[in-house]
């Protein structure tokens, strides 16, 4: 009797209409029908339910589906329970029996098709390409009244029985989403690709089973403007949907027209939808309106001849009004910025600590992923150097803008490693919460405390860092010469202090070349004393530190290599005015006049610390070298000689 029944499982018809990949709303994507690939915008947890009123002969309400979605990185998992996805038919079997009182009674049958629940998984290979699968579980409940003649002893009577069978099966499909560009994307999906489960054993029910013809569907989503989308989906079974969707701020509008080859007229119905998007929820109010009369009486023969093509959408489906509520619950903070790359612009020389406060050691390239201005707080930390993150200045980034922000670091005073280590730096971007929006790690070379980058200007950090030792030492030396110093005019105090300190300084030192084969190594003053020697930069640093510790202004003189061995010695400020030069020397090549910060001309004396003889010799050698290379050969003017003030 039912040999021609043609019932297919769910295909692309959804209760919220067809929205394609729905760039502005996630709600339509909970429907596996039009979203076989389980594509989702949910960033963390998503929850949705559809409640509807069906205008059958007796209006009834029902929860059609309850869905849950969870995104883990590029993976999305979803599940849905669909208590309202069912369709039941009741009809006469075609058999009747004549009862004892000669009345006839028809035997009835029913079949109830249900989609109970489904599971989905998808993986986003990129923003443009994702693949997913959905599996749905169906049951079919068949009931049929029958009469069986019973021959008991000599008596014959009819026994009225119910024959029933429950058939369960899964169907699975695959889907692919590909965005050609921001305005055009495609959806490819299978229909009834995988089918496994039971089949009806009873021959009377076999022909009533849901048909599971294998097919495919292709969807095209075209967004000519940000505010509008045209969506079309075609199924190889011959059905299609055309939808126009509009977006205005938080509101959305949709109108889907659907054709079903099993229904009349050509456009069987429409699904108008109004939607609203809140901060964490979405509301959809939609209707399913059929263009044919759904309240007429339907005959068994029509059902047998044409069947139904879809549990939700078939010639016997009724008009509906549906409310869909979706929640987007983000327990994980949404990433708003991305740290694309970090460039380390300086290796770490721990002694140059002040330098890192003034100048960034790295720059990060950051992109704002949001539509709003966002304030970013960069932080960095070097493993083995810092225990806490060091904050750099905050930066404001325009929507979707890419900027380069500096990362600063602080070298703790306590850092004292004498080993060069390859460490790594962690870079963080913070926006609102105390958890970083993004982070990046990069290798960084952390030199020892004695490492020097060869730039004379950075020798000052060695001078300053050991100032306590130098002050203690210098004061002790000067105290032992208090008698001499007390008899001198105040104007010559700096000169004689420098002289006394020098003579005492060099008395026990010898010149020792830099012990490192590669790179520069600079001793702190106390190490020079301990080691009783050093090279030019060690000795200059040590002497400069002694003078600075007693208030004598010094400057390092950088004689740049220019094919020769690079050399450093120093100048110190006698605080004498040019008119007072005669008290030191009548040889005007032995001193040099420099203008102080307050505009006064002051006499500076060059000292060649490496002479290691006595002050007069060192002064003489220093003056000769300075006079020759800096003055006569125009070294300062040519940049071959550079004077570096310590402060």
């Amino acid at each position: 009797m039912f040999a021609n029944v043609n019932i297919l499982s769910q295909s692309s018809f959804g209760l919220n209409g067809y929205w394609g990949l729905s760039p502005n709303f996630n709600t339509p994507l909970y429907g596996y029908e039009g979203n076989t690939s389980n594509y989702a915008h949910v960033r963390d947890w998503g929850f949705s339910f559809i409640y509807g009123v069906e205008f059958a002969k007796n209006t009834n309400s029902n929860i059609y589906s309850i869905s849950l979605s969870k995104t883990l990185g590029n993976h999305n998992l979803s599940a849905r329970f669909t208590p309202g996805y069912q369709k039941e038919f009741i009809f006469n079997t075609g058999e009747s029996i004549v009862l004892e009182d000669s009345t006839s009674q028809s035997l009835t049958a029913s079949v109830n098709y249900k989609e109970l629940f489904g599971l989905g998984y998808s993986y986003k290979f990129s923003e443009d390409f994702s693949v997913g699968t959905t599996f749905r579980f169906f049951t079919q409940d068949f009931f049929q009244e029958i009469v069986t003649p019973v021959f008991e002893d000599s008596l014959i009577f009819f026994l009225r029985e119910t024959k029933s069978e429950k058939v369960k099966f899964w169907k699975g499909d695959l889907g692919i989403n590909y965005a050609l560009n921001e305005n055009l994307n495609f959806v490819f999906a299978s229909i009834n690709l995988l089918n496994f489960g039971e089949k009806a054993d009873n021959s009377d029910f076999k022909d009533l089973e849901l048909r599971r013809e294998v097919g495919g569907m292709i969807g095209v989503n075209y967004l000519p403007f940000d505010a509008a989308a045209i969506n079309f989906i075609y199924e190889t079974t011959g059905s299609y949907q055309v939808a126009l969707n509009g977006y205005a701020g938080d509101l959305g509008f949709g109108m889907t027209l659907f054709h079903d080859k099993y229904q009349e007229p050509e456009i069987a119905g429409m699904i108008p939808t109004i939607s609203y998007k809140g901060e964490i929820f979405e509301l959809f109010v939609s209707g399913v309106k059929y263009f044919s009369n759904r309240k007429k009486e339907f005959g068994v023969s029509e059902f047998v001849e044409n069947g139904i093509s879809n549990i939700l959408n078939n010639p016997y489906s009724f008009d509906k009004v549906l409310l869909t509520v979706s929640f987007n619950i983000n327990t994980a903070k949404e990433r708003t910025v991305k740290l694309i790359d970090v460039e380390i612009v300086k290796d770490i020389y721990p002694t140059f600590s002040e330098n890192y406060v003034e100048y960034p050691f790295a720059y990060g390239t950051i992109v704002n992923l949001t539509d709003e201005y966002i304030t970013v707080k960069p932080m960095a930390r070097i493993e083995g150097v810092n225990e806490e993150n060091i904050q750099s200045p905050v930066s404001a980034i325009a929507p979707h803008d890419t900027v380069r922000v500096p990362f600063y670091i602080i070298i703790p005073e306590s850092y004292s490693s004498e080993k060069v280590e390859l460490s790594y730096a962690d870079f963080y971007l913070f926006t609102i919460s105390d958890k970083p929006d993004d982070q990046f790690q990069k290798a960084v070379l952390v030199n020892s405390v004695n490492s020097w980058d060869g730039r004379v200007s950075n020798l000052r950090y060695f001078i300053k860092k050991d100032l306590d030792f130098s002050m203690s030492h210098a004061k002790a030396v000067l105290s032992s010469n208090k008698t001499v110093l007390d008899t001198l005019p105040i104007a010559l105090e700096n000169f004689y202090k420098a002289k006394i300190l020098f003579n005492e300084y060099v008395a026990n030192l010898v010149y020792i070349s830099d012990p490192r084969a590669t790179g520069e190594y600079v001793q702190f003053p106390h190490q020079t004393f301990e080691l009783k020697g050093g090279d030019c930069d060690d000795l200059s640093v040590g002497y400069s530190s002694l003078l600075e510790s007693v208030g004598i202004q010094t400057a390092l003189v950088d004689y740049k290599a220019n094919g020769k061995v690079r050399h450093v010695n120093l100048l110190f400020n006698t605080k004498l005015s040019p008119n007072q030069a005669k008290v030191l020397t009548n040889n005007d090549t032995k001193y040099f006049i420099r203008e102080s910060v307050d505009g006064k001309d002051e006499i500076w004396l060059p000292v060649e610390v490496t002479s290691l003889t006595d002050f007069e010799t060192a002064w003489k050698l220093g003056a000769e070298k300075f006079n020759k290379e800096a003055i006569s050969e125009l070294g300062i003017a040519k940049g071959k000689v550079n004077i570096v003030d310590i402060y």
């Binding site: 069906e54 929860i63 009809f91 003649p149 014959i156």
Partner: protein, 302 residues
């Protein structure tokens, strides 16, 4: 926002609690022109020949207790197990006196007394008057009682007892000259001849013994099929079921109707196809049923 969420939560809970109707089922009305079959038990006790009364080749299977006054014309074919077919013509008329009930010695109501109100003719052939005999079993004894008389005309393989021929798809005349009264005469239309075929499918061992019945379609909306079986020990055909179905040419009798027939009691099944014109007229003497039928009985081994 917080208020809105609270509101949504309450609405959601409300929907869950009160929104759990089941989608309305679709009730389909019976407009099928195929495969309709109405089953009726005829022989309620196979040990009681009472239920076989009237189930001869005439196709009359009605319970004589409820049978109204009757005028019946039958064109009958019987195809035996070996494939031979005999043809018969049969006409009968029975009139009851509804004021007189006849009971068995044991007090069982057997039917109303039949009467002879006049002279009956079919196609101007005067019908013979024969006893209307009722068989039944009481106290385990087979008894034959007479309800009265009836009118018959018969011709067939066993000799032309009467000069009477049933004509298919035609009109035949009935007349009665009521004693001391008027003559009533009218024509009775007859249906197209029915020719059936029985194909037994499946096997009893596999519990799927079915019968595919096929026949030529005719000029009636439905036909009746009587499924009877021959009692092994008594050579009596016992009507079991009456099946009324659309005159569409075929019907599959489900296995439960065939497989259940106990072979220890029965050795043959008789499928009787009946295409019938029937009309019941309300008369002063009670209802008068006028019927004409083409009958084809096919006997098969069980």
């Amino acid at each position: 926002m917080k208020n809105l969420l609270t509101y949504l939560f309450i609405v959601s809970v409300g929907l869950f609690l009160f929104g759990c109707d089941k989608p309305a089922p679709t009730e389909l009305f019976d407009d099928s022109q195929e495969e309709l079959a109405e089953y009726e038990i005829l022989g309620k006790d196979i040990n009681d020949e009472f239920y076989s009364n009237g189930f001869d080749t005439t196709g009359v299977t009605q319970d004589l207790r409820e049978l109204p006054n009757l005028i019946a014309l039958s064109g009958i074919k019987v195809t035996y197990v070996h494939g031979n077919t005999d043809e018969f013509s049969f006409a009968q008329s029975i009139f009851f006196d509804r004021t007189k009930k006849i009971f068995s010695p044991g007090g069982r109501f057997l039917g109303f007394k039949s009467v002879i109100p006049g002279i009956v003719s079919f196609d101007n052939k005067i019908a013979r008057i024969v006893p209307l005999i009722v068989r039944y079993r009481e106290n385990n004894v087979l008894r034959h009682d007479t309800l009265g008389n009836k009118y018959i005309l018969f011709s067939g393989r066993r000799g032309d007892m009467d000069d009477f021929r049933y004509r298919h798809n035609s009109f035949m005349n009935f007349s009665i000259n009521i004693f001391f009264g008027e003559q009533v005469s009218f024509n009775i239309p007859t249906p197209i001849e029915i020719t059936g075929n029985v194909e037994i499918l499946g096997s009893r061992n596999q519990d799927d013994l079915r019968a595919l019945l096929q026949w030529n379609t005719g000029n009636t909306h439905d036909i009746t099929i009587i499924i009877g079986a021959r009692l092994r020990d008594r050579d009596i055909i016992m009507p079991l079921y009456r099946v009324k179905t659309i005159d569409d040419g075929s019907l599959l009798i489900p296995s439960r109707f065939i497989n259940q027939i106990p072979i220890q009691h029965f050795d043959r099944i008789v499928f009787t196809f009946i295409r019938r014109f029937e009309n019941t007229i309300d008369t002063n003497s009670g209802d008068l049923r006028v019927s004409s039928q083409s009958i084809h009985s096919i006997v098969v081994n069980l």
